[in-house]
Amino acid sequence: MATSQFVLQCEGVHKSFGPKPVLHDVSLNIAAGQIVALVGPSGCGKSTLFNGILGTHAPTRGRVVVGRNGHEHVVAGPNRHCGIVYQHYALYPFLTVLESVAFGLMLDETSLLFRAFRPLKWRKLRSEHLDRAAAALRRVHLTDADFGKYASELSGGMQQRVAVAQAIVMRPQILLLDEPFGALDEATRESLQTMLLEFYEENRSAIARGAAPPHTMVIVTHELTEAIYVADRVLGLSQYWDWRSEGHAACPGATIVYDRPAPVYRPGEPKNYEQFAVQREEIRKVVFEPPTPTPRGLHVTFWDDVQAGRASGITATNGGTP
């Protein structure tokens, strides 16, 4: 697969906090249209990797590149190319639902000076922003009756839908979701998982039309079933790998020890729990269990699986070139 087709590339990312190593030689490539789940034990450095991709915590060594087709740039801070959805929503309390989603459009497409000195043009553009925001909110199944509410007046599930709409309306190169459904009840969680499958379906439709898939996502989650269900690829980050075989006296940090395709589901398609159980068990053994350290490349086979036709997601339908 050509390098320029990857939307996200982590190249030998290392991260230490003082003398404490957290990430060791994390390298991964994510293609446009993929939904990738990142799992790992608590404290393994998932958030550190996530923050490295977002740009809030620069790697000690290595680099993160976002973008493709000649528009690649090295991440040096939070930027317009990476969208973000947090577990606790991080919605702005001073904005209504509709304003929240139009907020990014305003920040991205206008400046303070434009808004201050071109009031008529700004008014016209504002109306267009609100229309686009309304369309994004309807896509995440919020109704017009909710548009005038403040974040404090919404349930957790509705707030998370607003957060997702706020991110997707910006059409970021990659959308990062940090345990997005962790604080929600089971029913709301399932409904939001279906929403992600709908986004994946949009990607497939876009590819079928010969267009670029609109949504590429990395979702950090603790739930293995959720990871396998919503993603087309599961990444396992862990400190439990055979670092002694690489000549280290102590663990140099967590790295990617699992990278395999996940089964692809369509929205509303019944879950195959037997299939989940097999992959869950495999992930648990490789990623979460300390007693049997694994050589790190053994289960990092995603792109080999794609080439061998063992993957069923977007990368497979396009022969690895979405």
């Binding site: 809030t56 939070p78 317009r80 969208g83 973000i84 001073f94 920040l107 991205d108 303070l112 403040y150």
Partner: protein
């Protein structure tokens, strides 16, 4: 049980009852004093207070002015100028300190140290430095109120979650827009609350400065009549100050609720 909800009507009744009890208690106390000494002016009766009000609200032959109007005008002018300057300076400095570590490093120590200095103790120093004009009162209020307000804004800015700032950057905000469109808007209603709470201390510092240095103003008049034990006039001024403070408090609360409806609805 702690925080057991209570109907709004019952709350109002309790408030009214406490006010009636306070008025009744004062009336009884004043009556008792006047039984012993009918000319007592330390705890004036209601009729004496009405006379006191009439005295300060008619045109004085020497000054050719109504004292209470002239005093209210002078005190309000000093308070507005002093408080406005303090609020503007505190807001800008607090935001900058909360946003930029270099500004924090340069200013926090000074602001914290100033906040510990009782402004009444430096009135004489300020008097020597700036004289007895409007600057004196503005500086006294600023010394008393500005450091605390600045620290409060600084802490409010630091309380804005990093996630909200990072998210704004992912939405395309410039650094200036993060400060203006996120931080300032998050902090503003709480800042209005802090100004409301600092209004009382600002009045204290101003009245203290007027007691010492002014020839017109509430502090000057209270001092003058207190020395003559004319509490009928003093109480009128104290009541006027109380009503003024109450009105400003109500206005600021109304302003906060109307300007930041999200805050009233529980947004934080």
């Amino acid at each position: 049980m702690i925080r057991t909800p209570m109907p709004a009507g019952r709350k109002r009744i309790i408030t009214v009852v406490t006010v009636i009890l306070a008025i009744a208690g004062y009336t009884w106390w004043s009556h008792e004093r006047h039984v012993e000494n009918p000319k007592d002016r330390m705890v004036p009766s209601w009729s004496q207070m009405v006379e006191g009000f009439e005295r300060v609200s008619r045109v004085d032959e020497d000054d050719h002015a109504r004292w209470i109007v002239a005093d209210a005008k002078a005190t309000a002018q000093r308070l507005v100028i002093g408080l406005a300057a303090s609020v503007a300076l505190a807001f800008v400095l607090g935001i900058l300190m909360g946003c930029f570590h270099a500004v924090e490093a340069a200013c926090l120590w000074w602001v914290s140290a100033l906040a510990k200095v009782p402004p009444t103790s430096v009135i004489v120093v300020i008097f020597m430095a700036v004289g007895t004009g409007m600057e004196l009162y503005a500086v006294v209020i600023a010394v008393g109120v500005m450091p605390i307000l600045t620290e409060s804004v600084f802490l409010l800015v630091r309380d804005v979650p990093d996630e909200m700032l990072w998210k704004a950057e992912t939405l395309g905000a410039s650094r200036t827009e993060v400060v203006w469109n996120v931080i300032t808007r998050m902090v503003a209603p709480k800042f209005v609350d802090n100004v409301r709470l600092q209004f009382g201390p600002a009045m204290v510092y101003l009245i203290a400065a007027e007691l010492l240095c002014a020839y017109v103003g509430f502090g000057y008049r209270i001092n003058k009549f207190a020395r003559q034990t004319h509490m009928d006039v003093v109480f009128v001024y104290v009541l006027a100050l109380g009503l003024f403070g109450f009105a400003v408090n109500w206005l600021l609360t109304e302003f906060r609720n109307r300007a930041f409806p999200w805050y009233q609805k529980g947004g934080r």
